[in-house]
């Protein structure tokens, strides 16, 4: 009965979604001619290089034009970690010896992770350092680094993500982001304003504060995601 109702509802929802997207042709140019700067997207495409010297327009949008969103997004991650910690909080008294895994991982896995981890971390760092030039950036790099940590966390029984280190990275990265914003507010007049010189396109050091912010985001995301994994992995499994 309920299934039938749901299926009917799904059919209707599907009909309306199809109906709606029929009116939005796929692959059509809705920006118009960027040179006209009619739309926001056109403005971005047309002005990014000139005004920010950032090759990757998406990065420019994420970090600069809509940097406020990104700040919020980083905050969401931060809050998710905090919330996760509070939801899965264990009291000291009912905390027993945490058995992360029932059996130690095979040595193959351990060695593999040990070799892979620096490489993955390096890749991640590369991704977010070059965020303004190539595809990728803070989120992607951070997530990649977090997968590296994941590997270590599940291979080594005693590998601790290093709460102190995590805390520091997390906090400092966040503070950096907001401080840059406030710096912009103090010197340029608006929050997150790009107060550093834009530099030259396609240079590693270009785009003003954009790469700095993206690196901070990268570290922040990596730390948060690792934190999430760490909390989840530390739950005592059910017997």
């Amino acid at each position: 009965m309920k299934k039938v109702l749901v299926l009917v509802l799904l059919v209707i929802v599907g009909y309306f979604l199809t109906d709606t997207f029929n009116l939005i042709p796929f692959g059509e140019n809705r920006i118009g001619n960027p040179q006209d700067e009619q739309t926001v997207a056109g403005y971005y495409l047309n002005n990014t290089v000139e005004k920010t010297s950032v090759a990757n327009t998406v990065t420019a949008i994420v970090v600069n034009y809509r940097g406020f969103d990104t700040l919020g997004e980083v905050t969401v991650l931060f809050l998710a970690t905090t919330g996760l910690g509070s939801i899965l909080f264990r009291r000291k008294e009912d905390e027993e010896e945490i058995e992360r895994i029932n059996k130690p991982s095979s040595s193959l896995m351990q060695t593999g992770s040990r070799v892979l981890f620096p490489l993955i971390a390096l890749l991640g760092i590369y991704v977010f350092i070059h965020g303004h030039l190539t595809p990728g950036g803070g989120f992607q790099g951070g997530a990649i680094i977090a997968t590296g940590f994941l590997l270590m966390l599940i291979s080594y029984k005693n590998f601790k993500a290093g709460h102190t280190m995590l805390n520091w990275v997390e906090s400092l990265a966040g503070i950096t982001f907001v401080s840059i914003g406030l710096w912009g507010l103090l010197t340029g007049g608006t929050f997150l304003e790009n107060v550093l010189p834009a530099g030259e396109l396609n240079n590693l050091i270009s785009g003003g504060v954009i790469p700095i912010i993206y690196i901070a985001v990268g570290f922040k995301v990596a730390a948060e995601l690792t934190g999430v994994l760490d909390i989840l992995l530390n739950i005592k499994p059910k017997k």
Binding site: V6, L10, F26, G27, N29, P34, L45, L88
Partner: protein, 126 residues
């Protein structure tokens, strides 16, 4: 490229269709499946569908990624819309955060009720 028109409808159907299908499948899981993890899976499938739609609306036929590489500076007219991509980036991360919180709640619910079936977890009602 001359064949594009005749394949266009296939691709349109493919992208929009699969995105809408993802949303519906996810919705089905959320509304019918009793297991909490299945419901969360459903939610993330819905999210995936929405993200796909989001990227799809920014796509422009024959466009290139909105990245200026050396020697490509005048490709502005061919670039796809970068704004939806930026929004999807944000949305994906937020979706992940929500999923993480949801799963932690599932774990706690399971410990509390010793079950993960949503129809058995209703101590709060009326």
């Amino acid at each position: 490229m001359q064949n594009f028109e005749q394949y266009n409808s296939i691709i349109t159907t493919g992208v929009y269709g699969s995105a809408i299908a993802l949303i519906l499948i996810g919705l089905y899981a959320v509304l019918i499946k009793k297991h909490l993890i299945k419901i969360v899976i459903g939610l993330s499938i819905i999210d995936a569908g929405v993200h796909l739609l989001f990227v799809a609306i920014g796509y422009i036929k024959g466009g290139t990624a909105p990245i200026f590489s050396p020697g490509n500076e005048d490709a502005v007219n061919k670039m796809v819309d970068p704004v939806p991509q930026a929004l999807v980036l944000t949305a994906i991360v937020i979706g992940f955060a929500v999923t993480a919180v949801a799963l932690s709640l599932v774990i706690r619910l399971y410990k509390h009720h010793n079950t993960a079936r949503i129809d058995q977890i209703k101590s709060l009602k009326w």
